[in-house]
Amino acid sequence: MNLPDMDTNPIISVEALSKVYGNGHRALTDITLNIHTGEILALLGPNGAGKTTLISTICGIVNPSEGSVKVSGYDIEQDYRITRAMIGLVPQELTLPSFDTVWHTVCFSRGLFGKEPDPAYLEQLLRDLSLWEKKDSAIRTLSGGMKRRVLIAKALSHQPLVLFLDEPTAGVDVELRKGMWNLVTGLKKLGVTIILTTHYIEEAEAIADRVGVIHKSELLVIDDKQALKHKLGKRQMTIELEQPIASVPHSLSGWSLELSGEGRQLVYTYDSHSEHTGISGLLDAVNSTGLLLKDVSTSQSSLEDIFISLVGTE
């Protein structure tokens, strides 16, 4: 299903990566993918699919079992000092030093990554994340949404080229989720490459340029969001009738139509990129039955439909 990737200069390239945990659990199977500079890539998959393992491996927290990962052409094991300096990680859990203040922990993160102090940059960062007012507050006194933003501030404190966001909106209400999406698209404008994992399809649909679907340790598909819909999605044409009918006329039996809307709609599902969609033939045939048409519309299946068809409903 995976087309050969044409990007000759990816910021991250994962090559035949596998991970088997110490207890024998296989979390990644032969993952190969490229991440393009400046894009937002969404890794979509149900819980336990292996998303966190993939991210953790690239960031150096989990040792790979097989395969390799390169960041800007540098190997994550041999040249870890170079690759890790280019990466910021926002983990899935709200793991923060709860007794520390926001300002301290952000300064710590920057220093830990070997960067000279830069209070002006950190101030701007905290302002952009609406955390400046809270800079002297102990982290334990902050709300969940603020804690998530502190994690983001820590990850961005050393000015990385790539930002990993592991389930940034899990368990977050709709309002905050929209805020997070704005934040992420804002970062993209600054040139940061963003990889986020999610199990919300709307999230991938809303902000991702490309989408990868991980299921049971395997990367099932990775492609441009639109191309994915085009390639895997079905299109439907709905013909609205002036008068309801009791059954599909016999002369239209060649098109496998569904009758719905209390007999007022004929629904035709077709493969959008096959040579012969059969649309014009169908319309001619409908005309010759003498049925009066009220309206004709087409729609495309959503990522959600595609996702469900790939991983099934669980």
């Binding site: 945990y21 110490g22 960031c59 150096g60 927290i61 989990v62 040792n63 870890y80 000092r81 170079i82 690759t83 890790r84 300096a85 990466i87 990680l89 983990p91 859990e93 793991t95 923060l96 030093p97 709860s98 007794f99 301290h104 710590f108 993160s109 220093g111 830990l112 990554f113 070997g114 960067k115 000279e116 820590k154």
Partner: protein, 254 residues
């Protein structure tokens, strides 16, 4: 190539943490040492008078300092690395562009510094109670520093090995405290029956206390060269274990 900025950052924040909990970090070990001093020094000292020409009160000072150094080094270093593992914040250290060298310099360096400060304060405090005579100040400082480092390394290992708070307390309680009390802090080895004298020679703390005490009063249970050798050996073993831990990712990386 070492990321000095990163090592400095870990060190600084560990020291800051100690400062923020100053009662627990510095004041309580000093109070407990003064209590030992009063109980052992005055109660027993009033009966023993002198040991090999040194007043009993002064005789136990090096042992008391060692007692505090060992327990504080282990406690500080084990907690320092265990805590981020426990809360999960260790992810950041593991994803930083640093090797185990920076992590060691930061965490073990800070733990050793803290116990060094405690040791110096205790030494100064005991100067109020007895006449201290330091014959070999450089050896004294050397033993002090080496002990802080080696037992902070040991604490670091314990903090990596422990996967719950009980285990974190286990080794200090079951191994280190007994070794220290049986390590000649409050007596000389030749006060013991011969069989126990032999057993004592397997206790590494005996060498530490003996060497340290020699630097004060030139009174020793074993030769000072042997003491030094044992401390260096102990340090090397700890370093080797830590190197192995980081190489295999044991308890840090899956």
């Amino acid at each position: 190539m070492i990321n000095t900025q990163a090592a400095k950052t870990i060190y600084k924040y560990e020291m800051l943490r100690a400062w923020n909990t100053i009662m627990q970090s510095f004041v309580s070990p000093i109070i407990s040492t003064v209590l030992y001093f009063v109980v052992f020094g005055s109660a027993i000292g009033s009966r023993i008078e002198t040991v090999e020409g040194v007043s009993y009160g002064a005789f136990i000072v090096p042992g008391l300092v060692m007692l505090a150094l060992l327990t504080q080094s282990v406690a500080n270093a084990s907690f320092g690395i265990y805590f981020p593992r426990f809360t999960g914040t260790i992810y950041e250290v593991l994803s930083a562009p640093i090797s185990f060298v920076e992590i060691l310099l930061g965490y073990v360096g800070a733990a050793a510094t803290k116990s060094f400060i405690i040791g110096m304060i205790i030494l100064a405090t005991s100067g109020f109670f007895v006449d201290l005579n330091i014959s070999h100040p450089f050896w004294m400082l050397g033993f002090l520093v080496l002990t802080c480092i080696s037992f902070s390394l040991l604490g670091f290992i314990i903090g990596l090995w422990a996967d719950n708070f009980e285990k974190l307390q286990l080794i200090p309680m079951l191994v280190i405290t007994p070794l220290v009390f049986l390590g000649g802090s409050f007596y000389t080895i030749d006060m013991l029956p011969p069989a126990w004298q032999t057993v004592s020679l397997f206790n590494p703390v005996v060498y530490l206390v003996s060497g340290f005490r020699w630097s004060f009063y030139e009174v020793a249970d074993v030769g000072v060269g042997i003491s030094l050798l044992m401390v260096l050996l102990f340090t090397a073993i700890c370093l080797a274990i830590i190197w192995w831990i980081f190489k295999t990712g044991y308890r840090l990386k899956q």
